[in-house]
Symmetry: C2
Subunit: 207 residues, 2 copies
C-alpha cells in the first residue's frame, strides 16, 4: 500500500465533508475547482491530493461525486470498521463514547476503561466501562489495534505503556502529553490546546 | 503586540505541559535541551520558540521553571480569562462545558446554546443552556469575544454567521466544515477527523 503524505491525509476528510454536502444537495458531478472553493484549499493541492484516489475525471464534468467519495473513504480505510478501546471515561472520554460520527469514519469504540469504582460496570452511551486493570487481558483477547487516551496528561505515558504491552498498534492521544513509544507504534494527537493557543494569541494581538 | 508564528504558538502548550510536570517534580531550573527531549521538539526550534518569552537564561542553569511558565502563559494570554459562548450542547459540546482544563488556559465558557427544547433551561456541568435564538442579544449584552461551534457540520456556517453578526471576534470550530467569515474574524479548527485520517491510513499501510 503506498504511503500518502500526512498533509494530504489531513485534507481528505475536508473533501469528504464537501462531497457529503454536494451529495445531499443532489449533485452528481463536481470539478476540482469547485471542491477547492468549498474546502478552501488551493486547486493545485486539491488535484494532487485527489490523484491518490485514482478515479476518472473529465475536463468537462470533473469527478463523479459518489465515486470520488467512495474512493477517498477507501484510501482512509473508513469503509472498513476498526474496533478500539478508550481509557479515561471523564467528560471528554464519555463524549467520544457517544460520538456517532466515528462510526461513519470506520472507528468503533467497543469498551471504555477507568479506575473510578463509580464508573466501572456502568454503560456510557451504550458502551460498557471496565476496570483499567482488565485492559491488557481484554485487548489481547479481542485483538484490539487502536487505543484512545483521554486520561489526565500526567497519566498518559502509563496508559500508553499498558497499551503497547497489550498489542495496541495505533494510539490516539487526546492529551497534550508527548508519549514515548516504540517506533512501530503509530501515534496521533488531537491537540485542542495547540489550537486554543493560536486563537488566544491572535485575539490578544488584535486588541 | 508582536505577531508570533503559528507553528511556535502550537508548540507553546507542549512546553507549558513539560514545565508543569517539572514544577510538580520540584525542579526549579531547566535547560532548553531538557525541554527539547521531553517535548520531542528539535533544540533549535525550542530555543527559537522560547526566545519570544523574553526571559533570562544562563548557559549553566538554563531557564527558571516558574518564570518561563509564567512568561509563556502571558504570551498566550492564558493568565487572563476570556469568556465565551458555546453553540451545540450535544455529546462533544457537553464535554467541553465540563472540561476543567480550559479554566487554567484562560477560557471560561459561561453559556451554552441549543435548539433542543429538552436542553434549553437546563444546566450542564454548571453551565446554563439557552435557546440559540437568544445568542445574539446575550452575546452583544455581555460583549462576548469567543464563540465555540459544536453543532453538526451542516449547521456550522449558519452558526458562524450568527456569531459574526453578534460581535464575536474569534471562532473555535470543532466541526470539519470550513466556515466562511470576514477576514477580521479569527477562526481556529479542532479537526479530530484530520488526525483520525492519518491514524487510520497509517494503520492500514502497515497491514
Amino acid at each position: 500500500m503506498i504511503k500518502i503524505p500526512t498533509s494530504t491525509l489531513k485534507r481528505l476528510p475536508q473533501y469528504l465533508e464537501v462531497l457529503r454536502q454536494l451529495k445531499r444537495a443532489g449533485l452528481k458531478e463536481v470539478s476540482a475547482t469547485k471542491i477547492s472553493v468549498f474546502a478552501d484549499v488551493h486547486p493545485t493541492l486539491v488535484r494532487k491530493d485527489l490523484s491518490f484516489a485514482n478515479v476518472e475525471t473529465s475536463p468537462k464534468s470533473g469527478y463523479k461525486v459518489s465515486e470520488l467519495y467512495a474512493a477517498i473513504e477507501k484510501l482512509l480505510n473508513w469503509n472498513d470498521t476498526s474496533t478500539s478501546f478508550l481509557v479515561g471515561v471523564g467528560h471528554l472520554g464519555s463524549a467520544l463514547l457517544g460520538y456517532q460520527e466515528f462510526n461513519q469514519k470506520g472507528l468503533s469504540i467497543v469498551a471504555g476503561f477507568d479506575n473510578d469504582p463509580g464508573l466501572i460496570g456502568s454503560v456510557v452511551h451504550g458502551v460498557p466501562v471496565y476496570s483499567a486493570l482488565d485492559f491488557t487481558a481484554m485487548a489481547i483477547k479481542d485483538n484490539i489495534q487502536i487505543g484512545i487516551i483521554t486520561v489526565p496528561p500526567e497519566s498518559a505515558q502509563l496508559i500508553a505503556d499498558i497499551m503497547v504491552h497489550s498489542g495496541i498498534r495505533a494510539i490516539w492521544n487526546f492529551t497534550p502529553h508527548k508519549i514515548i513509544v516504540p517506533p512501530n507504534i503509530i501515534v496521533e494527537y488531537v491537540d485542542m490546546f495547540a489550537s486554543l493557543a493560536v486563537l488566544s494569541r491572535r485575539l490578544a494581538e488584535r486588541e
